[in-house]
């Protein structure tokens, strides 16, 4: 038994534990390796036209996914040198744009992502680009971890209209309680799920900090919700 523990520890020591250049490289390995395999399949044998289109589409989507990550990493590295203006925006419209942007990737994996908020008259104070990137990050994470059932994006007023919570609900493995606690904390290593490097969540938290928002996660019996809480616009409060 002790021998087994030692084997486990030796292997787990190879897992990156904090966001770093190594972690970023590790995160990019998966999509790049997949693109390479897909391209090798195109090269190595004659394939039907239908399969050719399918593989080409997968190369496109996987490349876009990797590029989103590289853009997030570079943007995240320059956050302190930049000023991010906050503007009143309708989070429902932004959420719908994110859902529409992610739909092809979800469809290619045989999955669905939907917007389910009922409220229409929300006005948040946020940086549009950063909020969009946070939501794309959550949606990308949810695709990887979701099982059956659509991923749901929701937006709702909280605390009597003090802030708006936008959540992305998946149906993957539940979050361990320690990791749930760590999602919004700056001083600790952040992991979204045990096998994840946590880079995506780390970047999302940086983007949230830059516009005075907070992120967090709620564990469910059959999955998790990653959310961002953003302030409401005073224009809404005056209504």
């Amino acid at each position: 038994m002790e021998g087994s523990k030692q084997q486990t520890n030796r292997l787990e020591g190879a897992v990156p534990t904090a966001p770093s250049f190594v972690t970023a490289a590790h995160e990019l390995k998966a999509p790049l390796a997949l693109v390479r395999q897909l391209a090798l399949h195109l090269e190595s044998r004659e394939i039907e036209q239908r399969e050719l289109h399918e593989i080409a589409h997968r190369i496109t989507l996987t490349s876009e996914r990797a590029l989103r990550l590289t853009t997030d990493i570079t943007k995240s590295a320059r956050l302190e040198d930049s000023l991010f203006s906050l503007e009143p925006l309708n989070p429902i419209v932004l959420c719908q744009e994110v859902v529409d942007e992610m739909k092809p990737l979800y469809a290619a994996h045989g999955r669905t992502i939907v917007m389910t908020s009922r409220t229409r008259s929300l006005l948040a104070l946020a940086n549009r680009d950063l909020l969009r990137r946070i939501l794309l990050n959550f949606a990308d994470n949810a695709l990887h971890y979701s099982g059956e059932g659509p991923v749901r994006v929701t937006a709702s007023l909280r605390d009597g209209g003090a802030y708006i919570r936008i959540g992305v609900r998946d149906y993957g493995p539940a979050l361990p309680s320690t990791m749930r606690k760590n999602v919004g904390e700056r001083s600790t290593a952040v992991h979204s799920r045990p096998e994840s490097s946590g880079l995506g969540i780390y970047i999302a938290r940086q983007f949230a900090d830059a516009m005075h928002a907070t992120i967090g996660a709620t564990s469910h019996r059959d999955g998790a919700t990653f959310y961002v809480d953003i302030g409401t616009s005073s224009q809404l409060r005056l209504l």
Partner: protein
């Protein structure tokens, strides 16, 4: 001899699909699972001749499955091909304790390498 049966446990649906197609073209029987728990269910239903196993997946990682395999006499000797992006980071001597003799690096492998690896361990 019956067609050798391969179980692919891989969370990347598209990577899994590529390996499945390659192996089926070589007349292997193939089933897939997208995480360790699903993999255990598949093994409970039918012990495969070879398991192709990713390392990091949603839920328990590969080590949990390897512990389980070693815990039962009917699966303790089932050959496992580890297929991972982290091949270079995993100590080979630690893997050999689990009976793993074949490790494929997803970042450098050729699609047909999976066929050669399966034939090697059968």
């Amino acid at each position: 001899m019956d067609t050798p049966h391969v179980l692919i446990i891989e969370d990347d649906q598209w990577f899994s699909s590529l390996m499945k197609k390659t192996l089926e073209r070589e007349k292997f029987g193939v089933t897939t699972a997208s995480n360790t728990i699903e993999g255990m269910d598949e093994i409970n239903a039918r012990v495969p001749d070879v398991i192709i196993l990713d390392f990091f997946m949603p839920g328990p990682n590969a080590l949990v499955l390897l512990h389980e395999l070693q815990s039962y006499s009917d699966t303790a000797n089932t050959p496992v091909v580890l297929c991972t992006n982290s091949a270079a980071d995993i100590p080979k001597d630690a893997l050999s304790a689990y009976g793993i003799t074949s490790v494929l690096d997803k970042t450098t492998m050729h699609p047909d390498d999976i066929v050669a690896a399966v034939r090697r361990v059968l």
